[in-house]
Symmetry: C2
Subunit: 413 residues, 2 copies
């Protein structure tokens, strides 16, 4: 595309449509093609967007967005590998481009040479989160800054990992409440990688649409189970310490950052759906209807692992998922799970290619995902119905201030 | 699963959650497992669902739902083939099961042995639409009722069709504004096919989330273009006649029905996005920003194919998509396009596997899709950026009344 005129960075997609009549005079240009979006026929003053489209999540901040942000209805995960010859300088330039574009997109602005896919939609809670994989550091001569916490995840018995859909030098997590807004961001960010990095793998996921249910906090997964009840809460005293690398943590460039464990977990839904509801609830340790633990109470009642039924049996079975995964069973290990479901049609064997894009956030994987998964791997009744098909671990640096870019302290520090 | 107690057909998922305290006494059972959803801990009276979740589209009616229903945010297309030995009686039983379940699901009720995936969501505008492919009729001994209009679609030059993802004996279109509600319906309907039919192909699509934009009528496709502006409107005098088989039409069992042309159209987005905005708009014949025709006016202004620019050139180029597709260029041929976008990751060549699940509705494909596509196939500038990868044509019978099932007049008449 030609770029006769620089884009106006502060112009929102909605203003472009709402005030198109003034476009020529004010030089409001969304794409690089001069005057392209200038419209002789101004629309009437647009109706206010509902909260779904109008909600914007700030890009800048102490932590990157997309970690404690409420789950969005659509997600894309993308991993990239640096191209041969891409050095530290090229990687820094890429992160600068990506950060600039992410800031524009999350504010509902149109980047240069815009594809227009998101035109007239609001930002729809778009978040873009960037991470670095272990393999990144050696390629750009930053071995000395490789965090210890990025050590390869151990092998688990239930792993059946596809290396082509695992790992990667760079990672982007995109979330939005509108599918076209999310796809628009994917295309814009992928285009900016050209020349420096190539797509290694990509996965698409989803959660509930805002307003489809009254249930505010948690979503259901494709097994029909409420997911996320026992997540650490931002109001917990130790939330920051568990999820984010502390101010004086190591390495220094990760202070305020977090580690993302990404697992593509296929669910054996045909086998699962053949279980009776009673069996399913015993495997999980919670009621399906409302997520209440089988030890009593409501969804948010703490699980009582010692509760015994009238017949002397444990209310929460010995191999129930909530028992094996509980912090009390894992020296207090905890992580913030923020998943998307996925469904990519069906496999050659006729089974659904569907499950969970499990994303877990923690200050240290060795005090979060690793000990819990080690325990689940051997003792969890649920694991019979799951296949871990892909795995990755990324260092997700802190958020950046205006004028900075994500990863700057790593790449320039 | 055990089925000690028959499900209560009129119990909604929300009532099950909202009035769970009364569940034991009233015998409110969502699944077949007795008392399974009875909860000792009743939730507080739930908040009202927002309109997104609470909207229910009636299953029963003169036409099937999902044809003139507003576009939903999520869609699944499923084609099935009858298993060897499945006769007319078995097919009738399947359509009866499917219709019963579709009625329950679209009302937000839980079918027997429910997977629970949609629990606590409203119906979210769920629609389920059933159709018959040409190959269905011979297999169940109904050759004499095969509609002439189900003649195979002609070959088009731009076709690169995958037979494994084309055609099929039976077709289901699922649409809903919530991804989990849509997936729940897919699983419930697929399970009921077991023994009678097996999945042949399946595709997943999406449109805008309700509330993401103010734009009420039309959506954008992945090329960034507003799509559907020139669709026939239910308020048009000839709408019924163009879209639905008339009361005295042939065959009699199709009166009130429609024909669905389904095409998986991959978009060559990398090539498209490299065009300048001006070139893109010339290819389409409309402005990208607001969909207004290049002959002037606003999105809904009729296209003036004869409009000439000051320099003597046509305002709408000779090979522009809107010119070649216009009813005026096709002896008035028209169809109701009701598509979903799709995005299945990326291909081996690095290009996005993304485009349009094009679904076109008409009373007669020979007066709708076929003449228009024949013209587009040869003369449309846009066709260079499209690949038709799969194709199917289905006879979609009229809707049914309570107590009846879709296709009953065909299978029992």
């Amino acid at each position: 595309m030609t770029t006769e005129q620089a884009p106006s960075p502060g112009i929102s997609r909605r203003r472009l449509l709402g005030s198109a009549g003034a476009a020529g005079a004010a030089g409001l240009v969304a794409g690089g093609a001069a005057g392209a979006y200038a419209s002789e026929a101004a629309r009437e003053t647009p109706e206010p967007l509902t909260s779904v489209g109008a909600t914007a999540v700030p890009f800048h901040g102490g932590h990157q967005a997309g970690i404690t942000t409420p789950l969005q209805a659509h997600g894309h995960l993308l991993a990239f590998d640096l191209k041969a010859g891409a050095n530290r300088k090229a990687a820094a330039a890429l992160l600068r481009r990506w950060s600039r574009t992410a800031r524009q997109l999350t504010a509902g602005e149109a980047p240069p040479d815009d594809t227009g896919i998101a035109l007239d939609a609001g930002p729809s809670s778009l978040t873009v989160t960037f991470g670095f994989g272990r393999t990144f550091f050696g390629k750009v001569g930053l071995d000395d800054r490789l965090p210890e916490a990025l050590a390869p995840l151990p092998h688990f018995v239930s792993d059946a990992l596809d290396p082509k859909r695992s790992d990667g030098d760079l990672w982007i997590q995109i979330g939005a409440d509108d599918a076209l807004v999310a796809f628009h961001a994917l295309r814009a960010l992928q285009r900016e990688a050209a020349g420096t990095a190539r797509l290694r793998w990509q996965m698409n996921g989803f959660n509930r649409t805002p307003g489809a249910t009254d249930r505010p906090m948690t979503t259901r997964n494709l097994m029909g189970q409420i997911d996320g009840t026992n997540n650490p809460k931002p109001t917990d005293d130790d939330f920051e310490r568990r999820i984010f690398v502390p101010e004086k943590g190591e390495p220094a460039w990760m202070a305020g950052g977090s580690y993302a464990v990404v697992r593509r977990i296929r669910m054996l839904l045909d086998a699962w759906d053949h279980l009776s509801l009673e069996r399913q609830e015993k495997v999980i340790g919670r009621r399906k209807s409302d997520g209440a633990p089988l030890s009593g109470g409501t969804e948010t009642t703490p699980v009582r692992l010692d509760k015994v039924n009238a017949d002397g049996s444990l209310a929460i079975a010995g191999a129930a998922h909530v028992r094996v995964a509980a912090p009390a069973s894992n020296q207090g290990a905890a992580m913030l799970r923020r998943p998307f479901s996925y469904h990519d049609g069906f496999r050659a064997d006729g089974a659904p290619d569907a499950g969970l894009l499990f994303i877990a956030w923690q200050a240290d994987p060795m005090k979060g995902f690793v000990p819990v998964q080690r325990k689940l791997d051997l003792g969890d009744d649920l694991s019979r119905f799951l296949r871990h098909e892909a795995s990755a671990l990324f260092a997700v640096p802190p958020g950046c201030a205006p004028g900075e870019y994500v990863g700057q302290a790593l790449l320039e520090g």
